[in-house]
Symmetry: C2
Subunit: 128 residues, 2 copies
DNA sequence: TGAAAAAGTAACTATAAAAGTTACACAATG
DNA sequence: CATTGTGTAACTTTTATAGTTACTTTTTCA
């Protein structure tokens, strides 16, 4: 949903309330405010409190990538990871797969993120 | 978990029961059998039923990639996708983000999968 | 200066997905 | 025909996410 919101903010280009944003996503304002909180803490948007408050992009849409948004919202959790059952110490595989696999998985995730990094918010608003 | 199992099968190199496999992952045999079912249906392993039954790789570990395993288990679901709330027909963004974004997301997913495709099961067993 | 309009957040409920469990049918072996 | 395995249905548990209610704090402006 974060991308939806960021796109809306870029598209509208002006200060917008969580109430209004919640309508475009068709959900509850609080859900949106929680998301907006993440985006604010990551420095992608700024929040004005009080009457006539609202949110706007903190910098130009050309300087915001899909990766920025993805990272703001996903808190460091890997895209896909191995189960986290305790290892069976009597099994060589159980003891050693983890580090080997996580190397390959994080490489794949880097490829994914690299691809997101190449897309700017402007590209999305323009394509609409 | 599927990778863990496939690695174990490649590592052991012989017919193995779900019971035994469940021990290396430290979980319930039925959970494992459900996974083994996916892997069998995808043609990555073969299942022998009856007494002295068990599972083994259907082809050489050098011919099985992480992507093969990933696809066997994830049933076509995209890695990350937009929310699926109904669109607000009065909002241009709500109406049009979806197709635009899904293009970029599937491109990123392709990068991810490409990376997985480059890793063979042999590489993993050898690294252990 | 106080009512109004907004963000921020805590605490709860609802929903859905995944994992785990129990129980049993079916298959092959010897 | 008993034994040892797979296959699977049905249920419970767990966890994460979304949604909800209710409230505090901040700012504006009449």
């Amino acid at each position: 949903m974060a991308v939806h919101i960021m796109t809306a903010l870029a598209y509208l280009g002006e200060k917008t309330s969580s109430e209004l944003l919640s309508h475009t996503v068709n959900t509850n304002p609080v859900v949106i405010r929680r998301l907006l909180g993440d985006l604010t803490r990551s420095g992608l948007i700024t929040a004005d409190r009080g009457k006539h408050g609202g949110f706007r992009l903190a910098r130009d849409a050309a300087d915001i990538s899909l990766l920025d948004i993805y990272r703001a919202v996903m808190d460091e959790q890997p895209l896909v990871s191995l189960h986290d059952n305790p290892k069976n110490t009597r099994c060589a595989v159980s003891c050693r797969v983890r580090p080997v696999l996580s190397g390959y998985l994080s490489r794949a995730q880097q490829a994914f993120e690299q691809s997101l990094a190449e897309v700017r918010l402007t590209e999305i608003t323009q394509a609409m």
